[in-house]
């Protein structure tokens, strides 16, 4: 096992898949000459050239719509949204076209499309540039939504996404590119649509993903020092949602906290809690708590922004609350 950063993991996945399949190419803003705004595609332009690493104009509709078209005729484009917030400028393509076309035309063609998008707050970028709108995208049948929380998962899931014949939104977190983690040597993939237990424990189940995983693992460590052992289930894929490990864990602990960075209302947590109540009501020993972002547009000021975002302390407090 090698220890690498999230950035390296994603970069490796892209490179390996581009080497493996000539139909794979990248298009997006500043992916080429600049090397990617988060330096994920650094060196790609020199290695693969302008045909496979396409610097686009600032034109999100042309990027996502164009990638859809290229996918429909048999290529395997990876479209990059510099940030997921700019995806709103191409919302029609992401939620109203890509998820529908295969179904609506009776499966006549496939859409092997990956949209990589950088999301998340915490960098003082202000209200329009800091969102974690994952739940909105996960609302649409026909679109798959993946959002990894470790380098190992990021690499394996992105490789699967590129090989998949469905449109997939792959959400990365802007503050996690330096996160380090063990990654298997050599070729591997991780199936899309499988949740994973990232830490075992007997007292409380934390259900989370992406940035929430980073925070929850820290919270778990702190709680462990106090003798509370939490089990952390990482969703990894929001749609299709794999509830098996969540339910299994919950049936063991009977208590849960759901952690997400996005807003609480109508969020990922709302879905998870409903599903637990629907599918494991008899096992509920305490009301389930959702830890999420305060219901405000994110402010620029650092202290205010941090106050709005979920913190490790919020998670530890929630765990103690469900244990009462």
């Amino acid at each position: 096992m090698a220890k690498i950063t999230m950035r390296e993991a994603i970069s490796q996945a892209l490179m390996e898949e581009m080497d493996r399949d000539p139909a794979v190419f990248i298009m997006g803003e500043e992916v080429g000459v600049w090397g990617g705004t988060y330096a994920v595609t650094k060196g790609f332009y020199d290695k693969y050239g302008a045909m496979r690493v396409k610097d686009t104009p600032i034109a999100e509709n042309a990027i996502i719509g164009g990638a859809i078209g290229a996918a429909m005729v048999g290529q395997r484009p990876i479209a990059e949204l510099m940030t997921i917030n700019f995806g709103f400028s191409a919302m029609d393509y992401i939620v109203n076209q890509a998820p529908k076309l295969h179904y609506m035309f009776g499966g006549q063609f496939t859409l092997p499309l990956v949209i990589r998008a950088v999301g998340g707050g915490g960098r003082q970028l202000g209200a329009t540039h800091s969102q974690t709108p994952d739940a909105i995208f996960a609302h649409f049948p026909g679109l798959k939504v993946v959002s990894p929380g470790t380098p190992e998962d990021a690499k394996g899931l992105l490789k699967s996404a590129i090989r998949s014949n469905d449109p997939i939104l792959f959400i990365e977190h802007a503050t996690m590119y330096q996160v380090r983690g063990e990654v298997p040597e050599g070729e591997y993939t991780i199936p899309i649509g499988k949740s994973k237990i990232q830490r075992t424990g007997k007292d409380v189940t934390i259900v989370t993903y992406c940035k929430g995983l980073e925070l929850s693992m820290k919270a778990a460590e702190e709680l462990s020092k106090e003798g509370i052992e939490v089990e952390v289930v990482d969703l990894r894929t929001l749609r299709p949602l794999d509830m098996e490990p969540v339910l299994e864990s919950f049936k063991k602990t009977n208590r849960a906290v759901v952690v997400e960075e996005g807003w609480k209302s109508y969020g990922v947590g709302s879905e998870i809690v409903s599903r637990i109540y629907e599918e494991a009501f008899d096992y509920v020993d305490a009301p389930i708590i959702r830890v999420a972002q305060k219901e405000v547009p994110l402010p620029y000021n650092r202290a205010l922004e941090q106050a709005a975002l979920p913190q490790v302390a919020d998670i530890t407090a929630a765990v103690k609350e469900v244990l009462k």
Binding site: I58, R123, V296
Partner: protein, 318 residues
């Protein structure tokens, strides 16, 4: 223009430059966060442009907005305070560098979604047309913004509805790291107005007097004819796209060449040659600006952080 007006323009340009230089230092030591896009090199554009507006004319721009804010009469104190995220900033520290606005001065914001503010600018003009006044909306945006659909939708509607919008493209040759010829089908941005049957022009953005004259003429046209106009202003940013830009996409010689056309240097020489100012008068302006910026930093640093309750204010009006 009267002599004092010339000196005032010089003062504004130097103020933008010095305030941003201090801003860059404060960013480096972590007192300013987020994205910060400097206007250094482009000062003549907004300075000449906004000098030509009537106070009732509205200004709206993108995230590269510190200069525009100062030109619109927002104080250095307030700009610096907003940069530091303090309660005394125009947006109470909630907006930051990219979101400077003071609607009482008809500065309707820095906007950070590329091209997103163009249809809103059309909307200002729709509102003013509806109200029956002859206000102009001055909408500034980059070369890169002319490749996104927002631009085309906004230009088209402004033409068919006879809206008083002065579209101002600040062509600084790059959208982030992408040179205009790699992103735009035509490199002369003003040509895009032709497709909408819209009157247009182009001017050297390193010369504030030329910008001012072109802006005066364009605004006269917009006000009198009730028609939109697209003005392309050619310029160059001397610094990176935003703080921390590795600038791999352009050569140092290219930057140096443009820096020889420093808009402040050009105007300084012009003022002296035309005997519109003495060296002493210009030095005094420089000194005054230094002091003003130093005071602004002091003010901003001494200002309180926004109260925690501010997190939940202004979400809704009702």
């Amino acid at each position: 223009m009267k002599k004092e007006q010339y000196l005032n323009l010089y003062y504004q340009m130097v103020l933008i430059r010095r305030l941003e230089e201090r801003g860059a230092e404060l960013y480096q030591v972590g007192k300013i966060g987020g994205f910060m896009h400097l206007y250094i090199g482009q000062e003549a554009v907004s300075t000449g442009l906004i000098a030509a507006r009537e106070p009732r004319d509205r200004v709206i721009t993108a995230y590269r907005d510190h200069g525009v804010a100062l030109n619109c009469g927002i104080s250095a104190n307030e700009v610096m305070a907003e940069l530091l995220g303090k309660a005394t900033g125009m947006s109470k520290g909630k907006g930051g560098s990219m979101h400077m606005a003071d609607t009482s001065r008809n500065m309707w914001g820095g906007h950070a979604i590329v091209g997103g503010h163009l249809p809103i600018a059309s909307g200002f003009a729709i509102g003013d047309q509806y109200a029956g006044n002859d206000n102009i909306t001055i909408c500034m945006f980059g070369d890169g913004a002319t490749n996104i659909g927002y631009f085309h939708e906004a230009l088209n509607i402004s033409k068919i509805w006879n809206l008083r919008v002065l579209w101002v493209c600040e062509n600084n040759q790059y959208g982030m790291g992408t040179a205009v010829d790699r992103a735009s089908a035509v490199t002369e941005i003003r040509q895009k107005a032709e497709g909408y049957g819209m009157k247009n022009g182009q001017v050297d953005g390193m010369d504030v007097t030329k910008v001012y004259e072109a802006a005066m003429e364009a605004m006269k046209f917009v006000r009198e004819s009730s028609q939109p106009y697209l003005l392309e202003i050619d310029t160059y940013r001397f610094r990176g796209h935003s703080m921390g830009d590795p600038e791999r996409y352009r050569k140092a010689e290219e930057v140096k060449k443009w820096q020889e056309n420093d808009p402040i240097g050009i105007f300084n020489r012009y003022l002296l040659e035309k005997k519109l100012a003495t060296r002493k008068a210009l030095d005094e302006i420089e000194a005054r600006v230094e002091e003003e910026v130093a005071k602004a930093v002091e003010f901003a640093e001494a200002s309180p952080e926004p109260a925690m309750e501010e997190l939940f204010t202004d979400i809704y009006a009702d």
